[in-house]
Symmetry: C2
Subunit: 263 residues, 2 copies
């Protein structure tokens, strides 16, 4: 079993991005700039945004954080969002991005699916002709993931499973590549996984814990200890998909800064 090291791969990609940013600056180009809007003081969001800003610093991007209190009016918030959106949008969730991705045109791609494709590619995992099961059909992970895995670049035969899927256990156990994006801690047990499968765990649910300083720990959608023994490759939580999501946001930001992809 090979543990897929998202931290290591994301660090590699960050170095590549930093190199490119250095080149842009040397040529007198515009420094990529990522803006984040944060409302209130939710712990998870604070952490995520703090990571983004740190990531930007590491690769040489500018970054800015626009804070609002919980009682901000919708009008104030929308006004800020519209102001920032007059710059190009890199998050990949806009309909135009989704549409371009689905029909195979260059586009900004949702950061998590893009990060997973990077992991599969950089670990040299063979995908063509394999059965891939994506559990979850959300607009930001499951749906785009299923489309990307089915396109010619990956060429897997994709099944999208969800809450209404009957015989879910059998469907999952048929997967050569199983991508769990459910949001339910340790949902995927060993008996749902084929011997030798590649398992990608997108889940990051915070569960209370006495053992950590923060008072919580992250749990994935996969019961790691029992599933890991059966896999050829598996991503841990944390340190698997999470860092890749962050680095894909940097990739999209760089793409937005260096070229106009909607020509």
């Amino acid at each position: 079993m090979i543990l897929i090291d998202g931290k290591k791969i994301s660090a590699e990609i960050k170095s590549e991005i930093a190199e490119q940013v250095k080149g842009i600056k040397e040529r007198g180009g515009k420094t990529p700039h990522l803006s984040a809007v944060l409302v209130g003081h939710d712990g998870g969001s604070e952490t995520y945004v703090a990571f983004k800003i740190k990531d930007c610093q590491e690769v040489g991007f500018k970054s800015s954080l626009h804070r609002f209190e919980d009682d901000v009016t919708e009008a104030e918030l929308l006004s800020k969002v519209h102001e920032l959106n007059s710059d190009d949008d890199v998050d990949g969730f806009q309909p135009i991005n989704v549409g371009r991705m689905v029909i195979g045109l260059p586009s900004f791609i949702s950061a998590t699916p893009d990060g997973i494709i990077e992991l599969l590619n950089r670990y040299g995992i063979e995908t063509s002709g394999k059965n891939c099961v994506v559990v979850g059909r959300s607009n930001i992970v499951g749906r785009p993931m299923s489309v990307l895995m089915s396109q010619k670049a990956m060429n897997t035969t994709v099944t999208v499973a969800h809450s209404r899927t009957k015989n879910l256990k059998e469907v999952c156990a048929s997967a050569d590549i199983l991508i769990a994006a459910i949001g339910s801690p340790e949902f995927v047990k060993a008996d749902m996984v084929k011997e030798g499968a590649v398992v990608i765990d997108v889940g990051t649910t915070r569960v209370p814990s006495n053992e950590t300083k923060s008072g919580f720990r992250l749990k994935g959608d996969v019961k790691f200890d029992e599933v890991a023994e059966k896999c050829s490759y598996i991503t841990p939580v944390p340190g698997g998909v999470g860092p890749m999501t962050r680095v894909s946001l940097l990739k999209n930001t760089l793409l937005a800064a260096t070229k106009q992809i909607y020509s």
Copy 2:
């Protein structure tokens, strides 16, 4: 085995559209208007466009046909297309339409997938929790079809199969609902179909024939005679999906004329 009568259902929907158009005109509203652009004299395209114009007349739409010879310059053609596109676009293939459809927002939907959803709904075919296999991943049929069948309104567990799918026979034979959009005449044989399955045949390939006046006949992707015996429902070719594609174009035109769906 129930033969799904696309001609009958499309006639029903046409009557409904005609009623609505009558209402629009009585209220002094704008008459829906469909423009088609035809280059050269390809037999299939001539037929298809002639049908569109006839359909428009039947439901009370205006229609216009813009003809160009084979030697039209790209610039001339683009100029006409841009002129027409300054009106709202109803074909459902634009990235913005695809994106809105994928993330579940109101949108114009590719006519063929929309027509198939109508057939399933109007025949009261149970879909929730069923296994659906879509063979083919084109941007105008297979891909949008797979997304629609996987969304909450249909709630099937969808697998997208394609040229690189291994064990295609077994994948197809696992389908409760099999949608063949391959473009290869009589590709789907009886041994690829589960007993009692619903089979939707999207294929319409012209093959030479001595028995028809036109010198050709349409063949579907399904070997009808042997597959029909095993099915609970099946669409014939012609007279199944084809008429539904045409009527869905009318639906999109009506939608464009009566409301702005991108608010």
